[in-house]
Assembly symmetry: D2
Homo-oligomer: 341 residues x 4
Amino acid sequence: MLKVGLIGFGYWGPQLFRNFSASSEFELVAVADQSEARRADIRKLFSGRVVASALEIVEDKSIDAVAIATPVASHFELARRAILAGKHVLVEKPMCATVAQGEELVELAARQGVVLMVDHTFLFTGAVQRISEIVRDGDLGRLCYYDSMRVNLGLFQPDVNALWDLAPHDLSIIDYLIDDEPIQIEASGYCHVNQHLPDIVYLTLHYASPMVAHLNLSWMSPVKVRRVAIGGTNQMVVWDDLNREETVKVYNSGIQVQPEDQRTVIIPGYRIGDVSSPRLANREALASVIEHFANVINGKEKSIMSGERGLRIVRILEASQKVLDDNLKHAREIQTSGLAR
Amino acid sequence: MLKVGLIGFGYWGPQLFRNFSASSEFELVAVADQSEARRADIRKLFSGRVVASALEIVEDKSIDAVAIATPVASHFELARRAILAGKHVLVEKPMCATVAQGEELVELAARQGVVLMVDHTFLFTGAVQRISEIVRDGDLGRLCYYDSMRVNLGLFQPDVNALWDLAPHDLSIIDYLIDDEPIQIEASGYCHVNQHLPDIVYLTLHYASPMVAHLNLSWMSPVKVRRVAIGGTNQMVVWDDLNREETVKVYNSGIQVQPEDQRTVIIPGYRIGDVSSPRLANREALASVIEHFANVINGKEKSIMSGERGLRIVRILEASQKVLDDNLKHAREIQTSGLAR
Amino acid sequence: MLKVGLIGFGYWGPQLFRNFSASSEFELVAVADQSEARRADIRKLFSGRVVASALEIVEDKSIDAVAIATPVASHFELARRAILAGKHVLVEKPMCATVAQGEELVELAARQGVVLMVDHTFLFTGAVQRISEIVRDGDLGRLCYYDSMRVNLGLFQPDVNALWDLAPHDLSIIDYLIDDEPIQIEASGYCHVNQHLPDIVYLTLHYASPMVAHLNLSWMSPVKVRRVAIGGTNQMVVWDDLNREETVKVYNSGIQVQPEDQRTVIIPGYRIGDVSSPRLANREALASVIEHFANVINGKEKSIMSGERGLRIVRILEASQKVLDDNLKHAREIQTSGLAR
Amino acid sequence: MLKVGLIGFGYWGPQLFRNFSASSEFELVAVADQSEARRADIRKLFSGRVVASALEIVEDKSIDAVAIATPVASHFELARRAILAGKHVLVEKPMCATVAQGEELVELAARQGVVLMVDHTFLFTGAVQRISEIVRDGDLGRLCYYDSMRVNLGLFQPDVNALWDLAPHDLSIIDYLIDDEPIQIEASGYCHVNQHLPDIVYLTLHYASPMVAHLNLSWMSPVKVRRVAIGGTNQMVVWDDLNREETVKVYNSGIQVQPEDQRTVIIPGYRIGDVSSPRLANREALASVIEHFANVINGKEKSIMSGERGLRIVRILEASQKVLDDNLKHAREIQTSGLAR
């Protein structure tokens, strides 16, 4: 059994706690959180060590691995120290706050010979696993687009905006589905609530494949939507994560290419071709993440959530943020100058 | 009774034919279409004059008004001649192909003292009429965003792309709902089927209000979606045009502004507040358009589909097209040069 | 071309008119309706004979076939005379008001050598045709139940109740899908609006197969529902006629038979197995009915809407009405006597 | 704090365990289960007494109240002994297996001066609480019908059928909403899987109000449905328990009573009037049950889940079972004799 310590018991920490406790591969030996109230909560559930300082876990020689579920700003420093102390690391997404940090962590983990894994949990959902099979089997044909609407209400945080909060889900899924990186990034958004934090972000990524990805991200929608459409030349998949009965639907309809020289007006029907909704595995995704972490440590599996993948996600986030900032600045200037058109 | 002539009997012409025939304000006296087959079809239904040349209608002194339902490229010339001949004009959307054309038509109609109206039919749907009431009553609070997903399969035409085909619906609705024009336009897209015609277009419009509008337009989706979300500080409206039972839903939930100095993580529920779905008037929108056309001619109503509005839509389309072209050209260059990132 | 006359131009008559007009097998030569206003309406659309008396059509020697779309009470007499005059007859459902009438019509048509067909239009919908294929292919396994919810608001008529108005749809579909007649009938209902006309009816039919059919019929529901579930030992079909995109869904789940000697509590998930939604033919069903009528007359097809089938439906309706009346009478007696239990 | 013991740790027991543990009114002091494996499970979570025999709890003088979550067959004996030992009792639904048992328990509890409560959990859901308010406020007008479809797959148990498993939910809700008992009961069903246990049951209850209730209960449906429609003369409520976003919808449409002397054919639209979906309280219903149990014991609230209510439910179940048995027997005789019609 691998001895694991958990750092951070806020929103996601308790989920990791529950799953590490149920794991047959790990023995959870210590939990750290800066908040005294939270430590009291942990003690009700946990007979192991409960500490205030993450360093007590990071520097504990008896611990093989750590899971880091703290705010993003602290990921780098905690992961760096844990790796330097020879520990395997499972860090929450996004892996860190900058590309430079990410490059250092990946290099360090390689040098130390430890596993650096980023908890992009969605990759292990029944939906993404099934969609991945469909893509790899070639059923969709050549991929044309990935279109995501990921909107809901709330979750305003001082240290993260809608881009860094919501985009990592889609970016990790795209990175998992296709072996390609964006060649051009367009990003715009809006700050309705907090001047400095975009709460609506539109992201368009062009890939050489060629493929286009579009993300509609918002904290401003009273209706929660989690809808991803993936279109290929043969078929299209729609993944509605809030539809419990038919989460993934496969539309057996391709894109009809018409000869260019003849004017054609087709009044489109509601759909063409059959629709099917495959049954999905319903194991909790985080349980699979933790099992995968153990298997990668033990050399039984190749990581699908490697530091390299995590770094690619951070690279796109950083580049997108730069475009977004430029556009927001430009919009503010126009608005201030009062010049329309 | 106003004597009206109809030019064009392709996709939309028969709808105009049916509604002009049923109108108590208009007498439909002539129909023109270049296709002999279509003229034969018309003659089965229509005992009036059926002609090949639009000019026979445009120059007929006994005719008071013409309706133009031909391809966009011919709108300008036909409308210009009709206006010069002193006729009132109802032209299909988009009004014309360029801003210069639109400016000339608007000026000419003013000089000739005739009505120039653009058939932005959607404005007279029960849904848009109801949403307009909600917006004007101030129920939504300050408008924050207009978010439209308007995607379906097909309808590839040689002379129009997804932008000019699909955006006019949303642009006319926004122009009707708010008294403001965009101060900044972002547009990207993709040409999957036809090298020269974007079949997927993402449009982001910034308004001084401040408000942001986002349009996700596509001819590449086997699933048809017609979903518009309009968010204000107090409430949000979702208009799903394919949901016959609850076409418009009002979410009685505002955007919760949190004090910036305290970290808050809210796990969002599915929604907050009641939802209601108002009953909509179910008169055919085009019947209302035609009645409105008569009322504007007779001085009983002020036009909500004036040439000025039509011109503003064309102005946004032209500006968007320019941004879109630049971006598509840039993406092709990167793709050709093979430089990633 | 077969010369056909149409009797009745109320609710369904205009549909028959439109489809006979478009048919390449029939020439519509005359239309009869007692109402002068309706005859005026017909004359706007129709250049043939328009008459007040149905007898003018029934006795016209030049007419080969008649379609009867009048109130049920008149079906028998009109159909009888038409058959006696040697005409083929297409009569609206239900075929007639009593079993005795139905038996006489069937016998008469056989003797006269003419086609007697009942317009159970639903049999030619894309949905029922597809379900019929699924049933005949044996995909469902042995049929266990047919469960229909057919409720909406309104349609109160003085001469027909919810049973005779709504049940014929399901009864004709069941009769088409399985080659069996009910061995036991249970029926209960309620008269909320009109003392003498049940507006809510629950019908349970037991078949020897063994199979059970259950119909929940109501004129008292503001929400319209048209949902039929057909369950077999291997699969289940749900037909939601108001769902335009996925009208028919096939659930690839059988009924798990557990050994009786072991206590098993299964917490059921939302479903087991894949779901698929086949694409349906979208030809107007009534056009197929009329083509079928011609083909049966011409000996090219065997009737799926024969007088025998129509008679079996009337037989079940009559039997159900008797049970329903007894139950309603009994309930009133209890209510009047004020004795509870 | 009231000292409570829990008997039975199968399907529902763990829910009671979790909620009693979280309660500030009760101290959970002992849990009993006959299964050694389950006792081992309990010990992982619970530091109190874990025993094999329910009698150890029932006869423990230090315990104030017991919760009974065992198979129905044992409810009576356990509840009887607990009441005789002066304990308050919360028993799972249905309260017991026969009316005679129920009458004895109610009488005994009254004599002993203890609280006898039946855990009809649904009464404390946000949905039923909200519907109850709507009914009591008179918004619906006079109640006309209660129509429930409660179907799913599985859950075959040797000691209970679909009637006793599924009907108590609806029967307790009806008993809570209206102050009336059925004056006539019709019940039919089918045994597809197990000869002796109906797995499909149709129940129709007539009330003097007058109102009719109809329950469509099934263990044979791969699609889970939990839909209740409650129709009044002014409005109608639809409660879809699987729709997380709009669980309860209120249709602002009444039943249009037409004068009987004029034939009226209305082609019904999809609905008339606005629809609204009230926000529901989302507290776990069982937490409210347990708080209510404490409040009733402490005399702070009047019970809405009294033994009297539980007894009325059992009385309807027993009467329905008798009708069902007669009908099933009759159907088998017909089937055996081979006589159709």
